[in-house]
Structure formats: C-alpha cells, structure tokens
Subunit: 634 residues, 2 copies
C-alpha cells in the first residue's frame, strides 16, 4: 500500500457530497506524483492539488510494460444516473487503498454548463469522489477554455474569409494573402503549402502561379449553406441555439443563420480525446472539415490558414491533469466529449500514460459515457481502434432501480419523488428488467473481454433482489457479478469488485474483436451497430442518403461510425425500456468529424446546447470570502 493512501472515517447516513469532499485535506499533488514515480520534470503543477502530466513521459517509458486496462460502462440508465463515475472511483480506491495495487483512474473533465445549470458536478459521489471537488468541476487546468478559444477562432476565420472573398478580386485577395515584404518580395507562409499541395500546385513562389491557380488557391468559395462549423460556449445558453450573425452595418448585409453548441460538443474536444501526440493533433486539427466549396470540395482549417494557431492554443490542453481520490489514489482527468453526438470517452493519451505509470500488474480504470450500447461500443470501435490498446475487462454498472424500470416499473423523472415500486422489494420487476443487463453483457463480451457486473447498492435494495441480479448476470455470461457499497464506505465497499476485476484481467488474453471492419461501407457499418441495438433494420432519410453519398465520394467512407442516439433505450425511442428488438432504426441525418476521425449518424434530434431551468444550481453557489471556500456546489 502506497504512502499516499489516506484512511477514510465514514459516517452514516452519508453526508452531502461537498461536505465529504471538504472534510478531507487533499495531499499536495507532488506527493501523488511521487507515488507514481513521476519526477518534477514530468509534470507542471497548477496550484497545490492539480498538475499537468507532460506527454514526454510517454517517450521515456516507451520500453515499460502496460498495466491492465479496464473500461467501466453501464446498463441503460434512468434519468437519475446509476453511479458509473462513483463506481469507477470506488473501484480504484479499493484497488489502490485496500488491495495494494498500482492504479490510476481516468475520468472525463465535466462541462461547466451543467455545474451551474441542473445537474451539478461530476466528481463521483459519497465516499467515492475526486477532490478538490470544486477545482474538478470548475476551470480545472483550462482545457475546455482552450477548446472554446480554438473552436471560435476557426469560426471567426470562416465568416471573415467569406466576407473578404466577397469584396475582393482574385488578384486583390491573393496579394493580401501573400503581401510583399520590405524588399517587395512575396512568399507563401508554411501553412499555405498545405493548400497548394492539396490543389496539386507544386510551385514555391507566388509569382509563379497562373491566374487560374491564383483563383483556385485564394478563393475558398464557401457554399454558405454547407457550413457545419458552429461556435461554442461552456455555458447552458439556450438562446444561442439558433442565431443570425453579421447584422452590424460594417458587415454589409452578409447575415447568416448559425448557432452555438456547448463546448464539449466541439469537434476539437473529440480530437483532444482521440489524438496520440502533438504531431498527430496538429494533423487532425488541420484537416477538420468546416464546410464545402460551391463545387462540393471539403474545406479544412488548414485551407483557412488556421490549423497551426489552433494547435498552439491546444498545446497545453494535450497534457492530462493529475488529481486524487478521497483515499489518495491518483486520477487523470482529460477531455470530455459529448456522449451523444461524439464518442463520450476520456482521452487516449491519459490512458496511455496511466498504463505505463502503473506498469505490469497495475490497473487503469477508464469510464465510457452513457450506457454500454453507446459508451463501451464507441470505446471499443473508435477509441481503442485509434489507440491500439486492448482492454482485458469491462465493468457494467447496474442498479436495482434501473433494472426495475426496465422490468416495467413506472417512469422515473428527475426532481419528482420515486414511485413506491422503487423503494420496496419487488423481485419480479428486477428479474424482468435483467433482459437489459443481459444484452449489454453479451454485446460487451463479444469484444473479447471479461465482463464484471457491479451492482451499485442503495439502502432500499433487498438481498433477494441483489441475488436475482447476480444470478441473471452470470447466466448471461458475465465473468462475475458483485454487490458494491463504495458510495457509503469508499474503497472498502468495492473490495469484492476489485478482486473480481483483478481475476477477470488475469484470466484473459485475446485481441480486441471489433464490431465491424473499417473497410465496410458507411451503411454496412451503421447496420452492424444497429443490429447490436436489437434493430431489425435501418431506415435512411433523404438527407442521410445524400450525406452518405457525399462523404463516400469525398473519400471519408472508411472512418469508424459514432452513433448519435438517446442513452435511455437500446433503440431510438427513449420510452422503449428493457431489451427492445425488431424495430427499424431511423437515420435522420449523417454528419462527420473528419479531424477527430468519425462519421456520426443522427438517430433522432440531439440537443447540443442545454438550457437553464427557472431556478438553476447557481442560486446556491457562492464563495465564503473569509475562507475562500466554495459553498453550495452539488
């Protein structure tokens, strides 16, 4: 057991999350780093309790062996959430503080929007939390702010370029893009050679271009209706969902309808999570497609001359942030892409660094967003495909509450009291609901990993109910199924889970089996995923057909697929609980994140900008100006 491990004094009933978080004095981050054998040149401290671990660690540890790689997914959740983050943290507290293992927890950075809106923070809960909880939920080390800045610089570059192209001749535009220096000589900047190469122009000096080449080079010729790049903000601001820009008199009537998404929905967030190095990030940011020319050719950030500047804005964001759990085990927080329109997984670089730091016999536990149908599927087919990493074990978190809902229990609505059925024993409902768990188990097992079911126990759950879930899980092919009480007891409450995960990891050694090969057509790939949902077929809108045709023609057909689907059902219909089958999955539209590296079909309408309720969380949040402490954060 490491020196940094801290003994928790648990109290019953479990106090509020913020009170537990504030009751523990965090260790200085240099102590957490030391325990991981990180020397001071391997990390940059950000205050006393956070540090950015530098990517150079990966180069230095290139020869070391990786630890075991565990992904945590969940069954189809209720709107209240089933404690996936809490279980991820609790499992690591058990492995590190009770089972004497090297362990790193890899978590997503939460958006600030929900922190001030409805949901509150995302640092786990009860006695399984990341601390300091306020620093985790607020600016952290500025990565999301960097994404916002980069995303919006690119957006400004698009509208301004369209404006300048509209008011200038080819020649005038070209002369401004390649202005003469003091000696009157013109030259291309480095980034311009990327566009020249793309256009097949292999000339080194501006003077050599023909008038036709000048036109091709200088005029991006945007089709304004094709622009998919939107601005972002890390705030729940529903009035920005659809806006008209360019209404100032200086913009000469060049108005355009567009909108803002929340920052974590930015493609740049998806890039951050999927990149593997600075050089790879530079390429991905440069090749992000923002729209098409009138001739139908994709226009990229590098065509706009801004791919380098975006990389500069993101150069520190690529380093994961080291924090700690309540029991002093290390946590890497990094990236937090939306789980619906994006892949919902934390970063590849954090997982890679963590696997080297824990080394052989150690454990890296990483969380995948939403239910396993979306989160774990994308973890396997997108994240692991790009990282080349192979997980040994997948945990599936279940609650009696959610299983009862899947078995036919009344609707669960956030903010309304739970129905009686959820507060008293009802084994029949639980047993009926296990069809949902069973499908998640068999889907996940198909990737070649051992599946461990973690039942996140609530005070109202009965022994018989819990045993019913264990039996159902094992008969569906789970390697093990364990009852956990980490919310009430910290790592001590997840020791059985830790032991099961260790056994699961030690008892498997097979390559990752993807759900689909990349060389399938876009439609075949969509259909393979739809089948895993229980669908009997897929129906494409006219718009979706058109987009699939376009992406295929543009050469993007071999990218993996990132389904944008509700987390509340295997199907597109959030009300269809349990394990629905035989339905036809409708694809409303198809979009692409070329820099991040995936095509994302839209199954239904996905909101990419949340709103604020009449009484947002911020009514309770304040600063105690005497102590400097945050109060009222939930």
């Amino acid at each position: 057991m490491g020196k940094t491990v801290r003994k928790l004094q648990v109290v019953s009933p479990v106090p509020a999350d913020i009170d537990i978080a504030n009751s523990v004095e965090p260790l200085h981050i240099s102590e957490i780093a030391k325990e991981l054998n990180l020397s001071p040149q391997h990390y940059d401290p950000y205050g006393k309790y956070k540090a950015k671990v530098l990517l150079s660690v990966l180069d230095e540890l290139q020869g070391s062996e990786d630890g075991y790689y565990v992904v945590v997914g969940g069954i189809t959740p209720t709107p209240l959430g089933e404690g996936k983050s809490t279980t991820t943290v609790g499992l690591c507290q058990a492995l590190g503080a009770f089972l004497d293992k090297k362990v790193v927890t890899c978590l997503r950075q939460p958006s600030q929007g929900p922190t001030f809106g409805i949901k509150g923070g995302a640092a786990g809960g009860g006695y399984s939390q990341v601390i300091p909880m306020d620093e985790f939920n607020l600016h952290l080390t500025g990565d999301i702010h960097a994404i916002t800045a980069a995303n919006n610089l690119l957006a400004a570059a698009i509208d301004t370029r369209i404006f300048h192209e509209s008011t200038q001749t080819d020649k005038g535009l070209f002369n401004r893009l390649c202005p003469p220096d003091k000696e009157g000589k013109r030259s291309f900047s480095n980034i311009m050679f990327r566009r020249l190469t793309k256009l097949g122009i292999s000339k080194a000096r501006p003077e050599e271009l023909t008038p036709q080449e000048i036109k091709k080079f200088a005029r991006l010729d945007f089709d304004p209706s094709s622009i998919t790049w939107r601005r972002v903000m890390d705030i729940n601001d529903r009035f920005l969902r659809k806006i008209t820009v360019g209404q100032g008199p200086e913009e000469k009537g060049m108005v355009r309808e567009t909108g803002f998404d929340i920052s974590v929905a930015s493609e740049i967030m998806a890039v951050l999570a999927l990149t593997t190095s600075l050089a790879d990030m530079r390429e991905r940011l440069g090749k992000m497609v923002v729209g098409n020319s009138k001739a139908g050719d994709p226009i990229t950030a590098d065509d706009l001359g801004v791919g380098g500047a975006l990389t500069v804005l993101m150069k520190d964001a690529i380093n994961p942030t080291l924090m700690q759990t309540l029991e002093g085990t290390p946590v890497l927080v990094h990236a937090g892409p939306f789980a619906n329109i994006s892949h919902g997984n934390s970063s590849i670089v954090a997982d890679k660094i963590a696997l080297k730091l824990v080394g052989r016999g150690g454990f890296v536990v990483t969380e995948a967003g939403f239910g396993a149908d979306i989160g774990t599927e994308k973890f396997m087919n997108i994240k692991c495909r790009y990282s080349g990493l192979t997980p040994q074990c997948a945990v599936i978190v279940a609650t009696i509450r959610a299983l009862k809902m899947h078995g036919g229990g009344p609707e669960v609505v956030a903010g309304k009291p739970l129905d009686h059925a959820y507060l008293t024993e009802n084994v029949a409902l639980v047993e009926a609901g296990c069809v949902n768990l069973a499908r998640h188990i068999s889907n996940t097992k198909a990737y070649g990993v051992n599946v461990v079911v973690a039942v996140n126990k609530f005070a109202t759950d009965s022994e018989v109910e819990l045993n019913a879930v264990k039996a159902a899980a094992l008969s569906a092919g789970a390697f093990d199924a364990v009852i956990c009480t980490h919310h009430a007891h910290g790592g001590k409450g997840a020791v059985d889970l830790g032991v099961a995960v260790q056994r699961a990891c030690e008892n498997i050694a097979q390559p990752l089996k993807f759900l689909y090969p990349l060389d399938m057509s876009i439609k075949e790939k969509i259909e393979a995923i739809a089948k895993s949902y229980g669908a009997s077929g897929v129906e494409y809108s006219e718009e979706a057909e058109k987009q699939i045709g376009m992406y295929t023609k543009q050469g993007f057909g071999s990218l993996p697929i990132c389904m944008a689907k509700t987390q509340y059902s295997f199907s597109h219909n959030a009300a269809a609980k349990g394990a629905p089958s035989g339905f036809v999955l409708p694809i409303r539209d198809v979009r692409a994140s070329i820099g991040a590296g995936f095509i994302y079909p839209l199954v239904g309408t996905m909101s990419t900008m949340p709103g604020l309720p009449t009484r947002p969380c911020f009514y309770d949040i304040d600063l105690d100006t005497t102590t400097g402490r945050v109060i009222g954060l939930s």
Copy 2:
C-alpha cells in the same frame, strides 16, 4: 543586485522579438518568487515559469511599508505605438538589474484576439520583454477565460429569466424559485435575501410573502430594450457585433437583438482591475446592473441569483500572475480592461501586493493604457481613488516619430512605409509637435506627481531632435527628460531613466490631487475632464441627457467618470493632432459599469469587437511538434 538577475548579450541590429525571447532560458518561477521573499505558501505555480501570487500575502504584509509607485503613460500616439510597454519593462530592468533596486513591473494581460489578428503580442519588445512571450500572450493562467465564462453565465441567466417569466404565473414562478424540499418545506437561498432586502421585504420564509410581495420578488420584469449586458468572446469575431438570438423553435419566438464584445471589454474585467479583496469583488459582481425593469429600476446580477456563482468563477482570477523580464526581474501580470470604454489599467491588487513586496525604497512601475489624457487620467481619478494609493512619479513616453506627426508631419498609417519626414532630421517638426507633450506634462503634474519624460530613441533620431524634446519637456515643467535605448540594449539602455525616476520619487511627498471631486454632478465631472483635453465646452445628445438623468435618479451620480474617447487626439477627432483647443466635445451616449464603479460617456463611436484582416497573424503561427515550441508569434 539580486541573484536572479541575468546578464543579456545584446546583438545589433536587434533581432525579431520572438528570437530574442527564445534565446533566453527563463528562470524557474520559484527563483523569482524567492527573490521577492515569497514563500511557497504565498503562491501557486502554474507550470515552470508562471505562478499566481495569493491575496493572503497582503494580509501578512499589512504592517510593511510600501515602495515608490510609478505610473507610465504616453503622449498621443501614432497608430504604430510609441513603446510604452517596452519602456515600462526597460525601466524595471534598469532599476532591478543595474541600479540594485527591488522592483516589480505591473502589466496588463493582453487579449488573445489581437495576438491572432493584426497587432500580435504585447510583451514589450526588443531587449525589454516579458518571458516566456508565448505564455504571456496566450492563455496565461486563465483569468480572461474565467471572465468570459462569468460574463456569459450572466448573459444566459438574463435571457432565460425573461423566457421563464413570460411563460409562468407569479405563483408558478415563485414556487419554482423556492421549491419544496423532501419534507415539503420551502426556503429562500442566501442570495435571495439580497433581493428581499433591496425590495424592503424583511420576511424570513416564503410562506409569509403576500401575493404582491411574491410578484415583486419573483418577477424581475425586464424591459428588453434596456438590457446593456452583452455576451463576450476573446476572439476578433466581427460577425458577432450585432446578432439576433432566440431563433430556435423551443424559444417560442422570443428573439432579441444583441451582440458580442471582446472579453477584455466586459465589465467583469473592469471589476477585476478595480477590486481590493474577495469580499469587495463579491459585492461588485453582485451589484453589476444588466438592465432595467419596465418600471425603470436597475436589475443586478444578485437579483438574478448569480452574483455568488460569478465570484466562484473569478476566485482564482483575483490572484495576479508572476512572470519575469528578459533580465530576470519580477513582473505581475493582472487584468487588462479596454482603455476606451473602460479604464485601461492593470489591477489594484497586483499594485498593492507589489508595493508591499518591494517595500521601502523599492519601485513598482505600472502602465496605464493609451495616451496620458486617457490612461493616466483614469489611473489617477478612478484606479487610485479606489485603491487609496499615491504615486510619486509619472513617466510620459514620447518618440520623435509621434512628435513630428503632432508638429504637422504626414499621416502615419500602420502597414504603409513611413514618410521621408520621419526618417531624416527635421527639428522644426519636432519642436512644433512638443505642444502635445507639454499639455500631457502639465495635465499630469497637476495630480501632484513629478513627471519624467522618457524619449524612446529610434535609430533614425538625431541628437539635435532629441535635445529639442528634452528642452521642451523641461520648460513645460517636467522633473527630468531622458533619452532611452532599452529596446536595443535592455535595462542598460534605461539606466538614466531609472536614475531620474528614483530622484523624482525621492523628491516629492504630496497627496494625490484629483481632477474632480466625486460629489460634483455627472455633467460637471465630464466637463472637468473635457477641459483637461482643451475643450471649450461639452455638447450632449438627447440620449446622453436621458441617461445622465436616469443614472442620477437611480443614485449613481457620485461615481467617477470613465471617458470613452479616441486615443489618437486630445479631442474627439482623431485627425486633430498636437494640442487642439476651443473645440466642443460631443457626448453621444452615456453608459454605466455600476459593479466596476464608473459612468462612461461615449465620445463618438467605440468599437468593442475588432475584426480579422484578409491575412491574419495566425497564418504564421504554428507549433514545432518536435520541440513543442511556438513559432511565428510576433
């Protein structure tokens, strides 16, 4: 001379700023901190070369004496800038590295917008720079990002509140604002008592309110046309200057015209610069007025329930960032409000901390934005009024180039070659232009400080020209006038300036004389400032008259005045060079930053959102992905 001082090897001709900045390996920030007697609990490191100095230092050093306080202003500049930041840094390098004085440079944090737009960075220039230059110009320690987040959370709160008020009854609104807890009991959150007090309702429980009180409390009843709060972004995005929001179907047609400013124009930036403690910042943020009710009452951030959350978002931003000059002297970078619609000065807390850290006989040199008519005037009448600090010396930076322009030289245009008149000797032009310098000297002297003129020497300046300026400065009442070559030589080139500033500080001891007392009417205060510009009178638009009446009626008449005027002339007409007089100053409109604490009359049209040119700076900016170094930043 301190241990941290670094000997510069200067090269002639002076290389590019980025090349000089990259040629020096910065000292670890802990060394800079140690030299200032800061112990590790006094600061939070942010990487190797930056640290946030904690406000608690002020409490600990309460009993220590302050050092000398020097403000750097300038004559009316050309569009090329006259080297005010460079002179500020050079002077400090002289004092610290050559004159063996304790010294801290206090600078504003630059906006990221211009870094990627036209202007480039703002870390000084030549051999007088703050390093690392890329960290200075980019995210720094996230303060501007925090301002953006806080500003936009407040904006979202406004539109959402109007929306929810429009769809709910008084009772429904009230019940949502004070929802029942698990036991069915309702309560007010702490922040709600601020509004109750403002409304004169001294009841402790929601149940006690009468229907009329419920209406008064729950319905802010915004007059949408009165809303002055805009959203912000730290990007040059001209297409956001005027926009329409709320066009999504869920917003039910509640569209509204509004716009974005650049983040440094946010009132929250002005608050950060003028606040003196966490408790003071909490109050200022809460009382920011965002618009009026239909009855004409001001509505504040605390009325919206969000003042506490804004403070939480700004709690780390209140700590200044420690950096270093090329010669290893310490720099505090903190706040950077727009100099036109805001006060253009760095923060009070940074100056206060610096004055304690250098102690008796040490020097704090702080820069005021724009020309002395705006920057130094606001430094004295707004910043020093709120801080209670008294400067001993004001430096006025002049260049032969700008003086020639004021003497009647041809127009100076950024990006175009300079006219012959500026490159060869022309004593007559210089002498004629000194009327501009003379008025800045006499205006500044009137505050009760000694004025030292620093002539920032260019290679093309002649001895006779330089002597003419010295003579003119002395005859206008300057304490001293000194030729400086810090751009070419670093601190060594500003030793004479350092000596003059030291003598100026040692030879004065009088209280600060403000230009106007606060208890004058708004119009009298505006007229006092206009007189200092040389105006014979002031002319108010109908709108300005209306606003002055409203602010006076609302009880804001005793705030100081922050003129929003061009920096390119003493008058409102940028083309009127030299020392114009007898003109009538037109006041187009009058606005207020109640939280920051000033009324700002608009003299002409001020752009609060810059644009990008056809070929922005970002075309040259990239990351060397092998070394991790930023390239192409200017």
